[in-house]
Symmetry: C2
Subunit: 725 residues, 2 copies
């Protein structure tokens, strides 16, 4: 018998927290960028946990319909804050909501991010005022959705087929869905929420096509939510996750809107059908950055949430005794293999957190510069450069951070064994909800390739034009030296700058390989686009390695910015960052060997160091997790509770969600007729003597089976002969 | 405008099927082992598709409760076949059911696999007859569940805490749950199906503990399904997938059963409390093999199902034009990066299929040998050897095949973009259902380590005892030569035997490294168990590489067994197997470089060959998928239909599942009060002049926000001071 007692997990957890070698609050502040952000987050968490609409105890058992209604209630409850909050406070709040309930985040974000973003980004000042008066900020009298993707078109926005044809006679646009493939598809909020849609459609004026523009199209009468004439909307129904958001399809059949409902900040259509094209096409891309930046942050937050559960569980879960004499079984976090499963992911989540802070800073800087820009501005070129860099960085980070986090969620689930499979412990919905991040706002593979394309361009600019590269790619500025660098051994591998040097070399090699393949393809006569296509695999690899190096560098720089305040924060965070850098090195070891930076023996050393650092990190894992500062309400997983009281919490949650003593729901209907049936088979079975010689019966049955198959084969052959393909 | 027409996808698919360079039926037969298996599977698929209980059109929208009832109906419908089928036909049928509805497979399998398996494996002949008379085969009057795992114990079966104490006075066992952690947990079928449970409990006789044994415990009165005295059962509720199976918890409070309800084939307890221990403890492990073997087959089948959808979708989905002049957009399967995403997975699924055939053969051979075994048998040692080998092989394959397939499912989902996220296209439930394979019947990490442990033992046996190793590890027989081997270049990389040689060398190096680390640890004074624990990471790596090599070898041998019948089957299958072998080499390239088998330049060649083979395989991808022989009913995914008519099928499926024209479910209740509210905030907002200078207001709000935060910080600091931690 083991020494079970109800308080054991509590005692174990308390022990894990005793005497951390760093100040947990200080580490937490460092992880949140500053104290204000941490305090703000704590305030948001408190608000959510006390608001009955945000109760999460029954969440996993809600049906799709219940979830949708609950989600709308949450929106109604939150608009209050939006109306009184600055944009950056609101952004932080949204970040938390992403962790609390991703479906709600999406439904809220469709209106406040995509729909309002489309108006902000594409409406003239007058148009913006008009829609504000109509209630687009307060959601009074209107709720918006964002009509971009179609059944047959997703990534290729320029290829969308919905048409917006200008009718000069009436000064109206006619919005039309010309075929099934052009049906607007996956439109969040369309099925049940929206009164208006920002529709992406091909602009046609006087028979000429001008490409994809945005049009404000009323869908429903807000007083009754009845569909307007020409609008056909259907519910897209069940999906992998985020069932709280009501995705729908929309078909437009010759729907007429006033000319002024085309958003005309960029392209303008005058009363008499003159089309004025925008001077700065590129700058409209700024809007894409916000979503990607938010997703990098969400990847970091969600990874932290998953790790919070898996690490706390592993700290108090015990399985197998180290020896027959041991009083207690071993904490599973003490097994080297379990440390190998979780500690690198813990380091990665921490790395993503610092990367997200930097990405957010970069985005805000870029957005501010873009907003300040006027036509003919002397800062134009510099701003476009910044936009390009932010664009490439966000594309790569969105792809690789969301992929890695999705994988981390499932690894955390698996690390919790069977209990990870229970909905009440949070992983199933976390995975299902998060999975779409790899697809929307740019399919990850396509984004990774965009990042790779930018890297090739940077490399070639530096090589052929002697251009000085900016921050993200500056490691390629002294390219020959970087390419030739070799690891000096343990002395280098155990320092941040040594690890950074390794990433610079291997990333430079990967980018060089991609760029050379690309140039060879161009020289062989391919167009640039064809050449990029043909070298997509190496391009992808370059982006992948560059991103790992970039993330490590963000982490390193964050560590280096910390004062060594004697609170242990910097020293311990340095351990975490080294583990991240070396573990990724091990994961991508083939490229380190291939580049010559690592020798075979040095790779063994990397593996040894990773194991050692996992062991070191394990010792501070619980206080580190505490510094993530996620409340039990937000984590919403009984096996991940802060107290460590996992079994009682889990048992309670399961019982609360599944009350006993109901009548059996289908005993009379299904089970009773089944287990008390007397089918003929059994009588036959008895007749031919099941108790005497079951083997003989089996052989007979097998013979019969073979005959049946032969007959069928003959029938099939005959049928084949008889019919013409 | 693109050239949309409703028939385009049909035409595209037809073109993909025109003139395949091999006979599709012959390939299909090869993939199924023989024609009989293929015909049988086709018969099963026909039966399922015509049986109304097996209708799948509404499946994705069923609630957990509906799914459970439907699942019970399926069981009632299928028992008919079980009663008339030989074991191997039934096994094949179960294989198909695993693809059709994994929750149903589990619920059916809990009774027929686990419960009945426990009786078969652990009951004496008399006991078996008794339970057969009670209805355990026909499910008449009883339905079984399998009570192994507990809330606090999963992997460590020997540590289970439920007690079975022999009461000599009454000749009964008392089954008891001593604490919360000992609550039987995750018991499939407990919540709603079972009348009886095969309970794993610690046997206590006269105060002495004899370890975990199996006891038949009645749970419910079959006539009413009311719980029997002392039994507390609760529903475990929602989980990631397989909601059709009713997992529950069970607590026993001094439940008395007759002594004869202990299954006594191995350990026996006599009337007067004498305990007779079994002579051959190991042989009871045979039962574990069946589940693992089934899971290897399920991994292959499910991977094929996922690939069927993703490859068919990629063949008819078009996105972006190759040039502005092109009439049609490009099929996404024509993009090199998309080939890189799917073709290796297609090769892997095919490899798993052949591996599953071999694993099944091995299992059946072992099971037959085990059944034939008598105490004192001269074949004992040989059979134990075979059992060990089958055990190690199945452990590694279960782990790595289920991991790889789980990953493949999500990669296939992502390759279908947004449509992959829709429940109606099958990936969400496929992933959620499959995910548990990585956990149950042996956590994958633990199984992989068991496989690694066996590899170390084999290596050391060969090295120190000069033992000739059996099939799975025979590549280590001429160890020095194998370790020293180097790749001869393209001539070797482009042949099956060349690729095989590479896998032998790299696997031998990995096993050697693990064995040497292990020996060094033992020599440093650690116990064998401690040493195995401490080298778990290298052990894991050895198992991983060995498994990839093993799978490649099964594929290679299957290809080599084919006659070159001039039907193109062998040649094309050889291409697929080479792609698998080389792609895995690329994936694990660091170990190939590390071992010295590949040079850096040769690795580049491997990468080039992988890309080329992806391109070659793409050309035959659709006929290859057809040879998987999965009916549209089984695939159950509109974007994966055989015809290629994906958009119409998908649109129809979504509409069927989500009928329009219902009243808005919560407009009056939630939306109307929300969008027509007049909250005070807005009035304030107007008063302070929202239209005049929004920036100024923001600044004011920010100021207020900052003050609030400062105040809170002060409050928090004061509170911290005032309280004792």
């Amino acid at each position: 018998m083991s020494a079970w007692r109800d308080t054991l997990t509590l005692e174990t957890m308390a022990k894990e927290r005793a005497n951390p070698p760093f100040d947990v609050r200080s580490l937490s502040i460092a992880m949140h960028g500053n104290e204000q952000s941490l305090v703000q987050k704590e305030r948001f968490m408190l608000e959510l946990s006390r608001d009955p609409v945000f109760y999460m105890g029954d969440w996993q058992d809600l049906t799709k319909d219940q979830l949708r209604e609950r989600t709308m209630q949450k929106i109604a409850a939150l608009v209050h804050y939006v109306m009184n909050e600055t944009v950056d406070v609101f952004t932080k709040r949204m970040e938390l909501i992403g962790m609390h309930d991703p479906g709600f985040w999406t439904r809220f974000g469709v209106h406040y991010g995509l729909f309002l973003g489309a108006i902000r980004g594409s409406a003239t000042a007058n148009q913006f005022s008009y829609w504000m008066e109509k209630g687009c900020i307060s959601c009074q009298g209107m709720y918006g959705c964002f009509g971009m993707t179609e059944l047959a078109h997703g990534s290729n926005v320029a290829g969308l087929e919905t048409t917006a044809t200008f009718d000069e006679k009436t000064d109206q646009f006619v919005i039309h869905t010309p075929n099934l493939g052009a049906t607007k598809w996956w439109i969040g909020g369309a099925a049940q929420s929206a009164t208006h849609c920002a529709v992406f459609a091909q602009l046609y004026v006087k028979g000429k096509r001008y490409g994809t523009k945005t049009f404000m199209v009323p869908l429903r009468d807000p007083k009754s939510y009845q569909l307007l004439p020409g609008i056909n909307i259907g519910d897209i129904g069940k999906k992998m996750g985020r069932d709280g958001i009501d995705n729908g399809f929309i078909q437009f059949t010759n729907v007429r809107i006033p000319r002024a409902y085309m958003l005309m900040k960029h392209t303008q259509v005058t009363r008499d059908g003159e089309v004025r094209e925008p001077p700065l096409q590129q700058l409209t891309y700024g809007a894409l950055l916000q979503g990607r930046t938010a997703m990098v942050a969400d990847a970091a937050n969600t990874a932290k949430k998953a790790l919070t559960i898996a690490v706390r569980y592993a700290a108090v879960r015990r399985q197998f005794k180290a020896s027959p004499e041991a009083e207690l079984e071993t904490q599973i976090l003490d097994y080297p293999i379990h440390q190998r499963r979780l500690m690198p992911l813990l380091a990665q989540a921490t790395a993503f957190g610092f990367t997200a802070l930097e990405m957010t800073r970069l985005f805000e800087e870029t957005a501010t510069a873009l907003e300040a820009l006027e036509p003919g501005d002397p800062n134009l070129e510099k701003t476009i450069e910044m936009l390009k860099e932010t664009h490439a960085t966000s594309a790569g980070l969105k792809a690789f951070c969301t992929w890695a986090t999705l994988e981390a969620i499932d690894k955390c689930r698996q690390a919790c064994g069977g209990h990870g499979y229970s909905s009440y412990n949070g992983f199933p919905s976390m995975y299902a909800d998060f999975a779409v991040h790899c697809t929307w706002e740019g399919d990850n593979t396509i984004l990774a390739l965009q990042s790779g394309r930018a890297l090739i361009s940077s490399y070639l600019d530096a090589k052929h034009k002697g251009k000085k590269l900016a921050a993200a790619t500056s490691y390629m500025n002294d390219i020959e030296k970087v390419l030739a660098a070799k690891c000096a051994g343990e002395s280098e591998l155990s320092t941040l700058s040594g690890i950074e040097a390794g990433w610079a070399t291997v990333a430079a090699h990967a980018v060089k390989k991609a760029a050379e393949d690309f140039e060879a393809l161009v020289n062989s006569g391919k167009s640039r686009d064809q050449a990029f296509e043909a070298c997509s695999q190496v391009r992808f690899v370059a982006a992948s390695i560059h991103s790992s190096g970039y993330i490590f560098r963000q982490f390193k720089q964050a560590v280096e910015r910390l004062d060594d305040a004697g609170d242990g924060v910097r020293k311990n965070l340095e351990l975490v960052s080294k583990l991240y850098g070396l573990w990724q090195m091990e994961e991508k070891a083939a490229f380190f060997l291939r580049s010559g930076w690592l020798s075979a023996a040095q790779l063994d050393l990397v593996q040894k160091l990773v194991s050692e650092y996992c062991y070191e990190l394990r010792k501070i894992a619980i206080p580190l997790i505490d510094a993530f500062a996620l409340s039990d309400h937000i984590v919403n997983s009984p096996i991940g509770v802060k107290s460590g009281d996992i079994y009682r919490e889990y048992f309670r949650a399961v019982r609360r969600a599944n009350p006993q003593n109901k009548e059996h729901p289908y005993f009379e209907r299904v089970i009773k007729p089944f287990i008390f049936r007397s089918p003929p088979e059994l009588e036959d079975f008895d007749e031919i003597g099941v108790d005497e010689d079951i083997e003989e019966i089996r052989e007979e049955l097998e013979e019969a089976e073979k005959e049946r198959i032969e007959a069928e084969k003959e029938r099939a052959a005959a049928a084949k002969k008889a019919t013409v393909e």
